[in-house]
């Protein structure tokens, strides 16, 4: 553990500040400093825990706290609750309701309705913690406090509302689900990586489909938190950067009860994470491949796909015109296939590679990257990642041009499609992934036998 911690300070409404002067020496085998541990002791057992990983923006943080506390007041009036803020510094001074000068009346109103003390615990780090460390801190707190229902939210989500938070907590708290993934209203061309790769592939592999594997907000049970904590994965790079997918996959690949809850539009503030496609692929596809690696004993034996309950609409797609440079996307695909030929030849099955070279030669207007080819391409990549035919990070990056090709084909084919039509297409893609599962397993196991 390389991060240093100075001290942790807890805040509950109206409690005078009391900062310990005791140095926060780390106890062996724990990521919680003594001060944080002491403050968690003061909180005691809770029913609800909401974790925030702060990005350092005081305004959005305060908005988030206010929304969370309001959610507690409106939906969970009798429950014991705590907010764990990681990496945000000491931002609880004087008021746990995010009351600035103008909010005092509202704060008083909130507390007039509040039965219980709502705790706010701040975990302070000397340097901004990695996402994995932040999540681990929150999971540890959830485990220690025996929280029944937990949620992760991002202050970067500008439309964070009390109902949104309740949508994540309620299924866990009242219906005993272990994992709640969000569902969003999206533009039909938004989230294509999730829709055309992450969702159908993970659904086929792990036999349960979660549309949004990579999201800043989700709900989970204390039981799942404890299970995730007990896994020795925290040193892995993919966990350090984007642990949420791993947690989702841990849930869907085990016997935890999962569901999806519709939250509305997905928006992000300007301070949210970068959208550089290479980084996205590293953190998502790379993470997915790593999860396949670490959980192969589970998914290889999985026989039948199960549906995941959805609370609210399954999906909402909007179709406003989008300003996209399709030609550039196609050029990047074509160029990528040509330039990366030696690399692709070591990753792809010869037949798959040949087919790709065939479609590269097509004109833009006639170009089509069919679902069968796309599925085989991904499965070839997954198997090659497993066998580490080249450096794994390079392998993931090599997929990007092909993803662009698929994206171009998708944009061309569905520019006039309705939301219902797109849903049918998406479902048929999922079915194609499932149909080709034996192909993946064969590829996955093939070299294993040669090597042994």
């Amino acid at each position: 553990m390389s991060d240093e911690r100075r001290h942790y300070v807890a805040g509950s409404f109206g409690i005078p500040q009391f900062e310990s002067e005791i140095s926060s020496a780390l106890a062996e085998d724990t990521i919680l400093a003594d001060d944080l541990l002491r403050q968690l002791m003061s909180v005691g057992e809770v029913d609800l825990l909401v974790g925030i990983i702060s990005h350092g923006d005081a305004i959005t943080d305060r908005h988030a706290f206010h929304a969370i506390e309001q959610s507690f007041q409106e939906h969970f009036t009798r429950e014991r609750a705590v907010i764990i803020n990681v990496g945000g510094g000491d931002n609880h001074e004087g008021d746990a309701s995010g009351a600035a000068h103008g909010d005092l009346a509202e704060k008083n109103m909130l507390f007039a309705r509040s039965l219980r003390t709502v705790h706010r615990v701040s975990a302070d780090f000397s340097a901004p913690p990695s996402a994995g460390l932040a999540l681990r801190t929150i999971l540890t707190a959830a485990d220690l406090l025996r929280a029944r229902a937990c949620a992760m939210v991002s202050p970067g989500t500008t439309n964070l509302t009390p109902d949104r938070i309740a949508s994540l907590l309620n299924p866990v708290f009242r219906e005993r689900f272990d994992f709640v993934a969000p569902l969003y209203t999206r533009h039909k061309f938004q989230g294509l990586l999730a829709r055309n790769l992450l969702y159908p592939m993970s659904r086929a592999i792990f036999c349960r489909g979660i549309r949004e594997l990579y999201s800043d907000e989700w709900g989970f049970s204390g039981r799942l938190a404890s299970a995730c904590l007990s896994q020795d994965v925290w040193h892995e790079e993919s966990i350090k950067t984007r642990p949420e997918a791993w947690m989702a996959i841990s849930a869907i690949s085990s016997d935890f009860r999962c569901c999806q809850a519709f939250l509305g539009p997905k928006l992000q503030s300007a301070t949210g994470p970068a959208t550089d496609i290479v980084e996205v692929f590293r953190h998502t596809v790379g993470n997915l491949f790593w999860c396949m690696e670490s959980r192969q004993s589970t998914w290889l034996d999985c026989k039948r796909s199960e549906s995941v309950k959805t609370l609210g609409p399954e999906q909402e797609l909007t179709s406003e015109p989008a300003d996209l440079d399709r030609h550039r996307i196609f050029e990047m695909f074509r160029n990528g296939v040509a330039e990366l030929e030696p690399i692709l030849s070591s990753i792809l099955d010869p037949e798959t590679h040949a087919e790709i070279k065939d479609i590269v030669a097509l004109e833009e207007s006639a170009f089509r990257f069919g679902p069968d080819l796309w599925v085989r391409t991904l499965y070839d990549f997954a198997a090659s990642h497993h066998h580490a035919v080249i450096n794994r990070d390079h392998l993931v990056q090599a997929l990007i041009p092909l993803y662009r090709g698929m994206t171009f084909s998708f944009l061309m084919e569905h520019s006039d499609s309705s939301a219902a039509e797109m849903e049918v297409v998406n479902e048929s893609l999922c079915v194609e992934f499932e149909r080709r599962r034996p192909y993946l397993i064969e590829k996955w196991k093939a070299k294993m036998e040669v090597k042994s």
């Binding site: 959208t275 070591s346 080249i390 390079h394 990056q397 994206t407 090597k451």
Partner: protein
């Protein structure tokens, strides 16, 4: 005179017999040492193979791309390479020890010099190997980055990187082996300097747009480029 010849022959004969009597034991010892060395070499090869299999070295080297280089040299795996190397090294060492037992004049000195040169050979081979590996890795990294950023001359960029690293590697290897040190250093400096100069001019004059794009990206003005592609998540 006949007596003298007979004495001479007798002397020569007894010298010969003495020489043979002197040589044969040493020869036998040499054989024993060589055979022992063979056995030890086999044992070490076997033990190393087991240890390396347990540490999954082959998987790591596959990932690092080292295995590809080895396959060019017709080695099936890193484990095979290392275990075979240790076999031959061990046996070669025993052979040399055996030869030194023979006591042939001048041979011992050569053997000693050979032993002193061996570490440099190993280091040289290691530098070459690591250099090739690095060249491979860096060039591929550059290729992928350039391709995914949409740059047209990705292959040129990638090969440039590879070539530079090769030159550096070969120079370092030759310097380690002590082969024409001065010549190699001078040649390397000239070639490397010229390449850098050329690249600087090329980028400076011809890469103004690229430089501007890079600067814009790092100063946060990336929206325009990214907006042309749909949000992946």
């Amino acid at each position: 005179m006949r007596q003298t010849i007979l004495q001479g022959l007798e002397q020569a004969y007894s010298n010969l017999v003495r020489m043979i009597a002197d040589f044969i034991p040493r020869f036998l010892v040499m054989l024993i040492v060589i055979v022992l060395g063979l056995l030890v070499a086999f044992a070490l090869k076997y033990i190393l193979r087991i240890v390396l299999n347990l540490t999954k070295l082959d998987r790591v080297s596959e990932e690092a791309g080292a295995s590809r280089i080895l396959r060019i040299a017709h080695f099936t795996s890193m484990t095979a390479l290392l275990s075979r190397s240790i076999f031959w090294l061990t046996w070669f060492g025993f052979i040399l020890i055996g030869l030194s037992v023979l006591g042939v004049a001048g041979l011992q000195e050569q053997i000693s010099r050979l032993f002193q040169f061996l570490p440099e050979v190993f280091v040289g081979i290691l530098i070459l190997f690591l250099g090739l590996l690095t060249a491979n890795f860096l060039s591929r990294t550059a290729l992928l980055a350039a391709v995914n950023a949409g740059h047209r001359s990705a292959k040129v960029f990638s090969w440039s990187i590879r070539f530079l690293v090769w030159i550096l590697t070969i120079s370092m290897t030759l310097e380690e082996l002590g082969v024409a040190r001065q010549t190699v250093i001078s040649a390397f400096s000239i070639i490397f300097g010229a390449l850098m100069f050329g690249l600087a001019i090329a980028f400076g004059l011809g890469g103004q747009d690229l430089a501007r794009q890079l600067l814009e990206r790092y100063l946060g003005n990336t929206k325009k480029a990214k907006d042309n592609e749909p949000q992946p998540l």
